[in-house]
């Protein structure tokens, strides 16, 4: 694999990772434990492909916009189920989003064997999207598509929104302490949590729509190699900073592309990438602990200095 091929493959792999990484980072910022990005991505991809096939006669620009909008809506709706279950019934979102991941997986299985199956009814996949229904490539002859720019743009927008808007402030306040935000800041915590949940799902759904219209061009069962789970590692490595999500997505994209190449060329099991991702997350947790310990020690030292002065 040439270096440029590796580089472009990394960009392609990182594109959906940026979006699901943003979805997780945003949710975790508000202490919403959405670990259902995988399911939200899958329904987003399904909706985009469904619209792409159903509205194939539309002009290219409108069609692509409709596809992406369908992905956004589907992802938000899917996350909305978990948000509603948390608000109304106090169901832990960790469990509900995980369950919804499995349901989404079977939904895709059903679609590619039922309503969206290719006409010969042999393969469990949809037909390929027409040229007009695909995201344009950035460079002629390369797989890198405009989805990458969209993902980077959304990272910038989210970083700005979190830092410089009133809504962003409320999200951060809820993440820092829901009770304090409610009493001192008069933040309506329930509404913020609900909104964050929907937006998180929308981002993940968009990730799925972009992957389907920019890279795979069809729906099939293995359309996501676990993007939604890698997203957790992506967001944590970025320390939940939307801008850093770009860099950490590229890192994990390169890792996964590299692992696939190693499997092809040297027979190294590709599951190794998952092990490395898990070890990175554990390493980050350990590093966070040593920072916390150092911080409390410094506070204790300061307190002593004040006490003896």
């Amino acid at each position: 694999m040439s270096f440029s091929a590796f580089l472009f493959a990394t960009f392609v792999r990182a594109t959906p990772l940026v979006l699901v990484g943003l979805a997780v980072a945003l949710a975790f910022r508000a202490k919403v434990l959405n670990i259902g990005a995988e399911g939200q991505l899958l329904v987003g991809a399904s909706a985009a492909v469904a619209v792409g096939l159903a509205c194939a006669a539309w002009p290219a620009v409108f069609l692509v916009i409709a596809e992406l909008a369908a992905g956004v809506l589907a992802g938000a709706l899917w996350a909305g189920i978990a948000a509603m279950l948390r608000e109304r019934f106090g169901v832990l979102e960790v469990i509900s989003t995980l369950m919804l991941n499995f349901v989404a997986q079977y939904l895709v299985s059903y679609l590619v064997r039922g309503p969206l199956q290719e006409p010969s009814r042999v393969y469990p996949q949809s037909v390929s999207l027409a040229e007009a229904a695909r995201l344009p490539a950035l460079l002629p002859g390369r797989q890198v598509h405009v989805g990458l720019l969209l993902a980077i743009g959304l990272s910038l927008a989210l970083a700005w929104g979190l830092r410089s808007t009133a809504v962003g402030f409320r999200v951060r306040a809820v993440g820092a302490g829901a009770a304090a935000a409610a009493s001192a800041g008069r933040v309506r915590v329930g509404r913020v949590v609900f909104g964050v949940f929907l937006l998180s799902g929308a981002l993940a759904g968009l990730g799925g729509a972009i992957e389907a219209t920019g890279n795979t061009f069809a729906l099939y069962e293995g359309i996501s190699p676990g993007f939604g789970y890698t997203a957790i590692a992506v967001a944590l490595l970025a320390r939940l900073d939307p801008l850093a999500v770009i860099a950490s997505s590229l890192f994990f994209g390169a890792l996964e592309v590299g692992a696939a190449a190693l499997k092809r060329d040297a027979g190294v099991p590709s599951e190794l990438a998952g092990v490395i991702e898990a070890l990175i997350v554990l390493g980050l947790l350990a590093a966070q602990r040593s920072r916390e310990v150092a911080l409390t020690r410094r506070v204790a030292v300061d307190a002593n200095v004040v006490g003896t002065a």
Binding site: L33, I35, I81, L85, R88, F89, G90, V91, L92, V94, I95, S96, L98, M99, L100, F102, V103, Y106, L107, S109, Y110, R113, G114, Y229, I232, A233, L236, P269, E271, L272, A273, G274, V275, I276, E277, A278, L279, V281, L282, L285, A286, Q288, R289, E292
Partner: protein, 302 residues
């Protein structure tokens, strides 16, 4: 519907419930100590892998020992992070799931290569209990099962008694409700949580071992298939009591068995909907229990 079909359905329910109940009873103890182990999925797959490795060398008995050992090994990593390093339990648990799935997948392809699919493990047969297994319908369902299911019948009341009638059980519950108060009474909450997580690891491992040694007869990557997550839901559904957890496991076993039944009977619902049914049932059931009121008060806190 004939008696034969109903009997087969009941038997399949208990069979499917067995690995779920094993993992969920372990997780119940972990959660009673105030820790939620989302990494249970990784523990189960590690157990399944351990079972394959050890059963190949020393037979079914060694397989179960290997399964429990492998489950404990990965649970120890989790305990180090959440107890000693005070890491976020959800994130650490997610990493443990990824680690378990990744390590077993990697080792499996390295050790057994592409020929792995044909690899068979020795299995334990069903041991029909004389007389009892002849009772119509319920007999074969409850008493024509592998020994690990019978062990569960004993474990559920024992665990219930241990939780509520023993000093150690009281210490466990105290740590899960009010760790500071427990510390004040001279109980080391760290030590209690360590033992709870190790027990949960052994049970999760045995759950994976049951899949390989009593049901499938081989290992496949990702064969835990979300059972760890379902087991966590079962604990909520069973309201953190052993009997409740056992009943909720049976409910799930029945839901999964219904899938096979609907397929066998040719009912006209999409196969995938039937497969998704246990997960949908979890969502509906969780909405029904309004679980938080009865959850251990310190659950999930660092």
């Amino acid at each position: 519907m004939t008696d034969g079909v109903v009997a087969a359905f009941l038997q399949a329910s208990v069979r499917t419930a067995t690995p779920l109940a094993l993992a969920a009873l372990g997780e119940l103890v972990v959660e009673r100590s105030g820790v939620i182990n989302i990494g249970l999925e990784g523990v189960i797959i590690a157990g399944a892998f351990g079972a394959l490795g050890f059963a190949g060398v020393g037979g079914v008995g060694a397989g179960f020992v290997g399964a429990a050992g492998a489950g404990i090994a990965i649970a120890v990593v989790f305990a180090l992070f959440v107890v000693n390093l005070r890491s976020d339990q959800i994130i650490a648990g997610t990493a443990i799931s990824m680690l378990g799935l990744g390590v077993t997948g990697t080792l499996y392809s390295m050790l057994y290569g592409s020929a792995g699919a044909a690899l068979r493990s020795p299995m334990t047969a069903a041991w029909p209990v004389p007389v009892l297994s002849d009772i119509p319908l319920a007999g074969p369902a409850l008493f024509n099962q592998p020994p690990v299911t019978y062990a569960l019948y004993a474990l559920v009341p024992l665990l219930a008694r241990w939780l509520h009638r023993s000093g150690a059980g009281l210490a466990l519950r105290a740590v899960g409700e009010r760790p500071e108060a427990a510390e004040g009474a001279g109980i080391s909450s760290d030590r209690v949580r360590w033992w709870a997580i190790v027990f949960g690891g052994a049970m999760g491992g045995l759950s994976g071992g049951t899949l390989v040694l009593a049901q499938v007869g081989t290992f496949a990557e990702g064969m835990s298939a979300g059972r760890g997550f379902i087991a966590i839901a079962i604990v909520v559904l069973g309201r953190w009591t052993p009997l409740g957890v056992a009943s909720a496991s049976l409910l799930f076993g029945a839901a999964s068995a219904l899938t096979h039944l609907s397929q066998a009977r040719g009912w006209s619902l999409p196969y995938e909907l039937a497969l998704a049914f246990p997960y949908l049932l979890t969502l509906v059931a969780l909405a029904g229990v309004r679980g938080r009121s009865v959850a251990p008060a310190a659950l999930g806190q660092r």
